[in-house]
């Protein structure tokens, strides 16, 4: 058995690489002169790229590590792929931004890497405790990152809110885990499923309560209604690059863990959790979309938009089964590209002390800076789900999973929500192209790294929209690996 374990460790290479680079970056920061610290970002980038490469090499591997604590399957590799793409693009966004905002360079990158590591554990955990461990690594890093802008009240408020509510949610989660352990005698996801099946635990009060508490805990992480209150304030106060990571990476990790728990461990209880999630999905979409209409600040608008997208993602979970899970994966990837793209534009225009973050600041940008304008328009159309973009394909896939499982009502509520969302996603476009520019506009400094992030996001958004076949196939494989095998 030890032989398989040793061979297995290479299958954990992506996470190991991320961890090693996180430590390396910390050390480098300590020993490198102040003016050369920008290189730290590039090294971080290399680390993430290596991990991504390793993930792609591992595609198709099936197995487990550490006695089932870590599962290596197509699903976990797919999640890792999404998370590493998110990390890669976040770092591209950050390199210029951290200089502008004077964030501590070394720690910043190390924390991003630690957060990514935690998120990757959440995507690969086969045990509730690993999921919890991953969540904590991720969250602790995020708490610090949110408050990194020294002397800015908003940033401190953001970190404080995130920490307090996050700690509270963690409590729920841990309590839920202990109740499930009490009911089934294990924290291993597959053994929980087996215990539920063998001992007929469906409907057991401890299990039901534990499940409910888990939903609350994860509901906080993915920013679903009614556990979403922190989102706008935290997103607004945190450094924009960190917000970009939170809205895509943290969300992906939360959904990865939630999907694993619900579909692997509690799959037989779908009759119990699906109706609850049905309502949470409807509320999340509707509240997110309606609140987004009223926003005047770009980051707050994107915060509410991310709440709404959590709602669409929940539709995929409600639908469950292979199609639902595959559509969840596809949606997370598409969302990563289009949302990070939107944040790339925001970062490119933002200036010190939260300037040029209001929607009104975007007036006339479209014709003044054609590249920024066009790409923002593309991302907005994609977020609202217009073809031929990634956002359309992803929504189509999610809704098709819902219709397939007979949730036609949910699909209709979903499309009506998309309709609402079009209104506020069009507003930046209206401002950029149809309003006259204000007297004062930020000078454009499209640093090569941000430009690279934009190009990546555009390519991803268009590729997933126009040629979805390949990636859909991979998502389907991953779903089959998780649920079919």
């Amino acid at each position: 058995m030890s032989g398989t374990e040793a061979a297995g460790l290479t299958s954990f290479l992506p996470a190991i690489l991320v961890g090693v680079f996180a430590l390396l970056v910390l050390m480098l920061d300590l020993f490198s002169p102040r003016d050369q610290r920008a290189n730290v970002g590039v090294i971080t980038l290399i680390g993430v790229a290596l991990a991504l490469w390793a993930t792609l090499r591992l595609w198709g591997t099936q197995g487990e590590l550490f006695g089932g604590m870590i599962l290596i399957d197509s699903a976990s590799l797919f999640f890792q792929g999404i998370l590493l793409v998110v990390a890669f693009m976040t770092i591209l966004l950050s390199i210029q931004y951290v200089v502008q905002e004077e964030l501590e360079l070394g720690e910043y990158y190390a924390l991003i890497l630690f957060a990514t590591l935690g998120a990757m554990l959440m995507g690969a955990g086969g045990d509730l405790l690993i999921l919890f461990l991953g969540l904590e690594i991720l969250s602790l890093a995020q708490y610090i990152l949110a408050g990194m802008r020294h002397g800015m009240l908003k940033s401190s408020e953001s970190a404080m809110k995130y920490f307090l509510l996050g700690a509270f949610a963690t409590g729920f989660l841990l309590y839920g885990i202990s109740l499930i352990y009490g009911a089934t005698g294990t924290t291993d996801l597959r053994r929980i499923a087996a215990a539920v099946a063998e001992r007929g635990l469906a409907g057991h009060p401890l299990l039901t309560l534990g499940m409910g508490l888990l939903l609350v805990g994860f509901g906080f992480k993915i920013a679903s209604v009614p556990f979403h209150m922190w989102t706008p304030d935290v997103y607004e106060g945190a450094p924009t690059s960190v917000t970009a990571f939170m809205s895509t990476g943290v969300k992906a990790a939360g959904f990865a863990a939630l999907a694993r728990v619900l579909l692997m461990a509690l799959g037989s209880l779908q009759g119990e959790w699906a109706p609850i999630l049905w309502w949470i999905a409807v509320l999340t979409m509707t509240v997110g979309n309606i609140a987004a209409i009223a926003q005047q600040n770009m980051k707050r608008m994107l915060a509410y938009s991310s709440i709404a997208h959590a709602g669409y993602l929940l539709i995929a979970l409600v639908a469950g089964q292979q199609a639902g899970f595959a559509s969840l994966l596809y949606y997370l990837l598409a969302y990563a590209f289009m949302n990070l793209g939107a944040f790339a534009v925001v970062v490119a225009l933002e200036r010190r002390h939260d300037r040029y973050l209001q929607l009104a600041d975007y007036a006339g940008v479209g014709f003044r800076y054609p590249i920024l304008g066009l790409s923002m328009a593309l991302f907005m159309f994609s977020l609202s789900g217009l073809p031929p973009t990634a956002g359309f394909m992803a929504k189509f896939y999610v809704f098709s999973a819902a219709v397939e499982q007979g949730y036609i009502g949910l699909a209709i509520i979903g499309v009506l929500n998309s309709l609402i969302s079009i209104y506020y996603y069009l507003r930046p476009i209206v401002l950029m192209y149809m309003e006259e520019p204000k007297a004062e506009m930020p000078s454009l400094s499209l640093a090569p790294f941000i430009f690279a992030a934009l190009v990546l996001a555009i390519l991803g958004t268009l590729h997933l929209g126009l040629f979805p076949a390949h990636m859909l196939g991979l998502a389907q494989d991953a779903a089959q690996g998780l649920l079919g095998g």
């Binding site: 217009l386 219709v403 397939e404 209709i412 309709l419 209104y423 069009l426 076949a469 196939g473 389907q476």
Partner: protein, 516 residues
């Protein structure tokens, strides 16, 4: 020869290629010329299928089919029958004219304007050519974005409001259609085990009558908003008035036809049973639209708004013809779609020319223009007469066929609809009289120039086709005959003796459980 070279795809993507080229060319002036050349080439390319088309076949021709997303059974599958053919040629005919009409009137952001026009053309041709429902939906939605920019960037003072209203109304319908497409897809997969979005395969599915009923209305809403059928028409006057001339021409000429085309291509063949059941209600809405549109046109002070409301009325005839379910009416409806595109397109072009000179579209600001612009007035007269259906011009043939066919199916509705023709004569001629005849009361009008050579180049082709269809509609009717015959057969054989089942009261009859 049809099977060898992908004519349709070339036609669809030629404008898109031009649009992308537009991003790279340095000078705006050059982009403008490139756009004109691209759209002319597309028009020429569309003549090949027009003449190579075999009118005896009802089935799709020039079919191209490639796997796109094999996992879901989505294919890039295109093909045209006579109806698609005419509408595609109408599209490729109107786009270069619109570009030429914008030659001098669009002064800002010309590059982006031309790029939007070309992308729009790709979307429109794609809509009429798609055989795969998913592909159709993609093209359908893809037309929204360029049109949204055309209205919102180059439109009038209320352009932002109009642009958002346009996109929200259209999306409201089409998103529900998306759910219906998915439901249809899964019903078919359940029944046959095969995943496909192919229209002809899906049409073979035996649907329960309640499933047909719900799916029909979901599709119907999307198309009814686009047509627009009363009472879903309120976005149209705003969009038309605010849009630049080229936008109005394309909107009236082609985009509205996409709705009527949707009825013909999807609602009727996919849900024949439900179509029959709903026919009277829809015909009623169409007739209300005819009268209401005409009455509204009568009281407008703005010429462009008047023409917009006249569109509501004209499209009512089209919908009435479609839901009469006989070949005469259907032929008339399809021809009327083309006619309306030509005559209303020409009207918008003329109004645009007036606006370019005088910066006003108010009827009260004109009067006596025959004295200063005799050639313009003559052309305006001809187009006005075409629009009200004078025999010998195109409008007559279409409206006559629609009424003839509709009278056999629903005599009361047809009689009321005929009133719409009289009203049309009233509002159009009255408008003409007030703007063109009489004394030159406004000093500003005394110095107006007559049509320029460029404007003649825009107008003359339209007038030639208007006369051609009026005098000799045979080549056009011959090409749609087989397709309309197929649709009538499909509807009528599917539901024999359905007449007894029809009736407004059936609408309210409780239906069985919703789609599973």
């Amino acid at each position: 020869m049809a099977g060898t070279f992908p004519f349709l795809s070339a036609m669809i993507f030629l404008p898109a290629l031009g649009a992308m080229l537009g991003f790279l060319i340095a000078s705006d002036e050059l982009v403008k010329r490139m756009a004109l050349v691209t759209s002319l080439l597309t028009f020429l390319a569309s003549l090949i299928p027009f003449f190579a088309f075999d009118p005896s076949l009802a089935a799709a021709q020039f079919v191209e089919s490639y796997a796109w997303v094999p996992l879901l059974g989505i294919r890039y599958e295109i093909g045209i029958d006579g109806i698609s053919l005419l509408l595609i040629v109408l599209t490729t005919f109107l786009v270069p004219l619109s570009i030429l009409a914008s030659w001098e009137s669009i002064t800002t952001r010309r590059r982006e304007f031309m790029i939007s026009m070309l992308f729009l053309e790709t979307g429109m041709i794609g809509v009429f050519a798609a055989v795969d429902l998913f592909l159709f939906y993609v093209f359908w939605e893809a037309t929204l974005i360029p049109m949204y920019f055309l209205i919102g960037v180059w439109g009038g003072p209320q352009r932002i409001y109009a642009a958002i209203k346009f996109i929200l109304y259209t999306m409201a319908g089409s998103l529900l259609m998306l759910v219906a497409i998915l439901a249809l897809y899964f019903l078919y997969r359940q029944a046959t085990g095969e995943a496909t979005f192919n229209l002809f395969q899906l049409a073979r599915l035996e649907l329960s009558s309640s499933a047909q009923w719900w799916l029909f209305w979901a599709f119907f809403l999307a198309f009814a908003i686009k047509v627009p059928l009363f009472p879903f028409h309120t976005w149209l006057p705003d969009a038309h008035v605010e849009a630049p001339t080229a936008g109005s021409v394309i909107l009236a000429g082609v985009l509205l036809k996409m709705g009527a085309y949707g009825f013909l291509r999807f609602c009727l063949p996919l849900f024949p049973h439900a179509s029959l059941r709903a026919a009277e209600v829809i015909a009623l809405l169409a007739v209300i639209g005819i009268i209401y549109g005409a009455a509204m046109a009568l009281v407008q002070a703005d010429i462009k708004r008047l023409v917009a409301y006249s569109s509501v009325s004209h499209l009512g005839f089209v919908v009435l013809g479609i839901f009469a379910f006989n070949q005469t009416a259907l032929d008339g409806a399809v021809l009327q779609m083309v006619n309306h595109g030509l005559s209303t397109g020409a009207l918008f072009l003329l109004v645009g020319m007036l606006y370019d000179r005088r910066h006003s579209r108010m009827i009260a600001d004109f009067g006596g223009l025959t004295q200063v612009m005799p050639r313009f007035a003559a052309i305006f007269m001809l187009v006005t007469l075409a629009s009200i259906g004078l025999p010998g011009l195109n409008g007559f043939v279409g409206e006559f066929l629609v009424l003839l066919g509709a009278f056999q199916a629903m005599p009361v509705f047809a009689s009321v609809a005929a009133l719409g023709i009289i009203l049309a004569a009233v509002y159009m001629l009255w408008m003409y009289q007030r703007t063109m005849f009489g004394e030159l009361t406004h000093a500003a009008n005394k110095s107006l120039a007559d049509v320029t050579a460029r404007e003649l180049a825009v107008l003359v082709p339209v007038i030639l086709v208007i006369v051609w269809i009026g005098v000799y509609p045979r080549p056009f009717l011959a090409r749609i005959d087989a397709a309309t015959k197929g649709i009538v057969e499909r509807v009528m054989t599917e539901a024999p003796g359905q007449k007894a089942m029809r009736g407004v009261e059936r609408l309210w009859r409780p239906t069985a459980a919703p789609v599973e």
